[in-house]
């Protein structure tokens, strides 16, 4: 197993950790952190798979895609935080209510 493959597998494990957090935590902030860990895992997979080139220089296209992805992830997280903040101010809750349990 080469080094890039090892890092890509670590990225897959990060995706799993984030997915578990996003599914099992009730607090919306924790869900968002889980989704961010998932995103970081995706970036790690992309970056490490780009390093499989024979020479010392990696494939630049996944790098550019990850750069775009980081910026979009930051913007989406900020928007989600603003949404959560507004939700908290309107309802006083930090968890989404279960389906069919409208107050």
């Amino acid at each position: 197993m080469t080094q890039p493959i090892l890092y890509a597998l670590a990225g897959a494990v990060m995706i799993g950790i984030g997915l578990f957090g996003a599914m099992s935590c009730a607090h919306v902030l924790r869900k968002m952190i889980g989704l961010n860990i998932m995103g970081a895992g995706t970036f790690l997979v992309l970056i490490s798979l780009a390093r499989r080139t024979p020479g010392p220089v990696p494939d630049p296209v996944p790098h550019a895609m990850v750069l775009t992805g980081i910026v979009v992830a930051v913007s989406a997280t900020a928007l989600a935080l603003a949404l959560l903040r507004r939700y908290y101010r309107e309802t006083g809750r930090t968890q989404l209510e279960p389906a069919g349990d409208q107050a």
């Binding site: 080469t2 890039p4 493959i5 890509a8 597998l9 897959a12 494990v13 995706i15 799993g16 997915l19 578990f20 599914m23 099992s24 997979v45 798979l49 780009a50 499989r52 080139t53 024979p54 220089v57 990696p58 494939d59 630049p60 296209v61 996944p62 790098h63 550019a64 750069l67 775009t68 980081i70 910026v71 979009v72 930051v74 913007s75 989406a76 900020a78 928007l79 935080l81 603003a82 949404l83 903040r85 507004r86 908290y88 101010r89 309107e90 309802t91 006083g92």
Partner: protein
């Protein structure tokens, strides 16, 4: 089924799903060839005509320029959404806070501000031939903005209305203007003429840096600060006041309530 049993079962189900997905991903990664050059040869082949010596910058602003423009649009949408949700309200230190700046912090911030601006400028310029570029430079500038706000130099909140909005949209506008400009003549959208590519990329990057920094700072202001400061009661009380009037919380009030029998 009790609450604890339900929670245990759901954790087991989630863990099974996660293990299955990670297993599938891992298997997919292991079946990939250990050596692949991807699109590197294609990028290297046209790097000379791209206007940037750094392949990542060439991909980001030339070969996939459309992608980067839409990325700026995504940021703009996020900032519009965040501002709408928080009614454009930003963190404002009270009079006492603003006057009470630690002299050491004050000196440090004054020392580091020009350095960070120079670093941002360097990152912007170096992006043409080495790792760096508009987004990295903008992240440094936005970090500087956050530092300035937290340490009591809230310069950005003095920008509002038309000035602030034009700063936020300037990156997208510059990108669109260059894209439409390239359409004059036989070229298609964002297909730079090789002779002008470096100038155009640098122009877009310079405008985008300032614009992205402003967007990131506005996102920070509207999403992060004062996150948990309001309770529901205060919110309702604030709604009843006329729009635009800031509710200054009386510091004596909670103390009076606590001491009341």
């Amino acid at each position: 089924m009790g609450e604890a049993t339900f929670r245990f079962c759901s954790v087991v189900v989630f863990a099974t799903i996660v293990v299955l997905i990670v297993g599938a991903l891992g298997a997919a990664i292991l079946t990939l060839p250990t050596e692949a050059s991807g699109l590197k040869t294609v990028v290297d082949g046209s790097l000379d005509r791209s206007g940037a010596k750094n392949p990542v910058t060439a991909v980001l602003l030339n070969f996939r320029g459309y992608d980067t423009m839409l990325e700026l649009v995504v940021m703009l949408l996020a900032v519009i959404g965040a501002r709408a949700l928080t009614r454009g309200e930003t963190y404002t230190p009270t009079g006492a806070e603003a006057d009470d700046i630690d002299p050491l912090l004050h000196g440090f911030v004054r020392l580091i501000t020009p350095v960070m601006i120079v670093v941002a400028g360097y990152l912007l310029w170096v992006g043409g031939h080495a790792p760096g570029g508009a987004f990295q430079a903008a992240a440094v500038l936005a970090g500087l903005g956050v530092l300035l706000q937290l340490s009591g130099f809230p310069w950005f909140r003095h920008l509002y209305g038309f000035a602030e909005r034009s700063l936020l949209i300037s990156g997208v506008v510059a990108f669109l203007a260059v894209g439409i400009g390239t359409m004059i003549g036989p070229r298609s959208f964002l297909q730079y003429p090789p002779a002008l590519a470096k100038t155009l990329i640098l122009l877009i990057e310079a405008v985008a840096t300032v614009s992205i920094a402003a967007i990131l700072l506005t996102l920070y202001n509207s999403g992060v600060l004062r996150f948990l400061e309001f309770t529901r009661g205060e919110m309702i009380e604030q709604k009843e006041r006329p729009e635009g009037v800031r509710v200054e919380k009386d510091p004596a009030e909670p103390g009076a309530e606590a001491s009341a029998p």
